[in-house]
Amino acid sequence: MSIMLQNRNNCGGVPNKIGASLFLLVFALSGMFFMGIMAYSFYQGAAAGSWVETPCRITAGEIVYPQRSGSKYSYKVAYRYVYSGRNYSATRLSFNTQGSEYKKVLKLSQDYAPGMDVKCYVNPSNPSDAVLVRKVDFKLLPFMFIPLIFVAIGFGGIYLTWRKKKQAEAAVDSAVAAPLPPSPLKSARAGRYGLCVFFGIFLLVGVFAGYFMFLKPVFKIWLSSSWPQVPCVIESSRMTESSDSDGTTYGVEVIYRYQYQGTAYVGDKYDFISGTSSGHEAKARIVRNYSPGQKTFCYVNPANPDDAVLSRTFRSELWLGLIPGAFALVGFIGITGALRFGRKRKVHVYEQPPGSGLNYAGGFDGIGENVLKPVTTPLKSLFGTIFVAVFWNGIVSIFVYQDLIKGTNSLMKFGVSLFMIPFILVGLLLIGLVLHTLLQLFNPRPVVKLDPVSPALGGRVSLSWEIPGYRSLTRLEIKLEGSEEVKFKSGDSGGTAKKLFEQISIVDTEDTREIAAGNATFTIPAESMHSFDADSNKIIWRLKLKGRKKLLPALSYEYAVNVMPGGKF
């Protein structure tokens, strides 16, 4: 019987592919757009490297103070120069025209003060174009790879979408459109690496953000405990703002002057927390405490006297810096799990060892110890549920704290409250689950033995059990269940499905003596199917033990049973 196997590379229809391609194209084009902007900015800085160095004189210069709390300082400058016998004037400081922190701008104002003779760099093809600072911003380079990821996902996705179609068409065109069996080892490796990359991003982001938000400030607080205290005078103090779609965050900027070992310095750091965060009132209080002209003390780094702070105490908002730690933990656990999963994965070599017609090598774990191990223990479940509950509620609590407790806009508060209700309910449910799992720790631990521990189809099996502390149980049920379990992909989504095909009731008793300990025998039907464990399709046999209790929660354990192929051939 020569047959034609159905092609299994079902890639969806052409309209779906066009839709997916358009979506991916938007992805790729946005990436290209942002990469283009960054590349142009970098190119401008690099191109100025070939501009002609020319003497010039600063004619005017002033520090532009921020007009709004969200803006930064900048230095407005004008200069004159002579190029090829002609006089020119320009106002461009550098290609990076964005504002900066006060100390940087102050340094610029000192380096390019009015009346100073300095060097400027003139564009030979357009001599009216010049800059004072032509530093290439190499810091920009790594960031150019971020939009590149979008470009790669976009074009890579389009390529893969249409490449699949090509393969499918080729298969249909061929006389026998049979699928080539995939290489399970290769696909497992690819899946494992994919998971590692996915969780690696979590780990990197968590470690990176955790370092800057928590470790670095805490380390500097610890280091600064030995810094000398020197008098300083407050020049200005203000709150800075940063607004985006998630709301407004606030920072503190205090500028002060101090002297250390006879040299005058300017400081602009209040403490070691950089950036902005929620909590308007706390920042406003700090700003109120430092009014211009006020005399106070600051702490100076003796190794670098330009580095100073007004406060070296631990602010409570530093604890927020531990949140990225949860991301790092998820990443670490995910990578470890992916690698362990890969190592443990079995290769199904259904070979028949010489001299034996019945052994089933390779596919199953060792045979011998006939005490069954539960699929999961209450302690493992407790750790799992605690982790999920902490992770979920940690994230939800940030939004609750920021938008509901600290937020000022009442309309927004109402909207956010409505939006957050389901998330908060899930969080509460998870807390309930943690308590439920915690109570299960106090349940009795059954000991279940199977002989043989890996029974064959059609074989007689002896089951024995013992439940220490059984007195709280009013009923005991033990069943053996066989089920088909599949993972499937449908369009862009996927899922799992499960169907029971066998259910053997072994024990169902309310007799306290039988609940305490007992044994039973049963037969696994010969006309059934042995355990089978492929990537997406599985035949799973489980022994389920349930003990009803007067008080919740009930006793519930599951044991995986490896059912072997039968021996009647």
Binding site: M1, S2, I3, M4, L5, Q6, R8, A170, S174, A175, V176, A178, P179, P181, P182, P184, H348, V349, Y350, E351, Q352, G357, L358, N359, Y360, G363, G482, E484, E485, V486, K487, F488, K489, A497, K498, K499, L500, F501, E502, Q503, A526, E527, S528, M529, H530, F532, A534, D535, S536, N537, I539, P565, G566, K568, F569
Partner: protein, 146 residues
Amino acid sequence: MNILSIKIKDDKTKFLPGEDIQCEVIWDLQKLPKTITVNLFWFTEGQGNPDSEIVRSIELDASGLSGRQWFRLALPVAPYSFTGSLISLSWAVEVVAPPAAERGIYKFSMSPLDNPAVLKAIEAPLPGVLKFLSRFKGIKQMPGGQ
């Protein structure tokens, strides 16, 4: 046009686990093949993503553009063929002869029973909450699933 086919002696479609199968490969190709390989593999069909695995491969002596060759393959002891509500598992031998795109395939079943096992979905008990709700809403047993 390339001709590449594989058939089993007596057109047998049912085998016992561990049994030997006798196959014949016939080829008539336009280009000299690099190799002629026969793969014995199982594969799944059904609701899940397809799985398959080659359990044995042999290379035939392909010295000409055309020819035929008999050979034997020993089947492993598992997995058995079966038909379930979600999964069906079958066995096949295929022959490939690159660079020819064609391949010949012969499908069969392997089971210790007269016919592959048929796994019928059975009623699964409802989870606790649904069982409670079923008293009021008339929710019935879930067919096989949970």
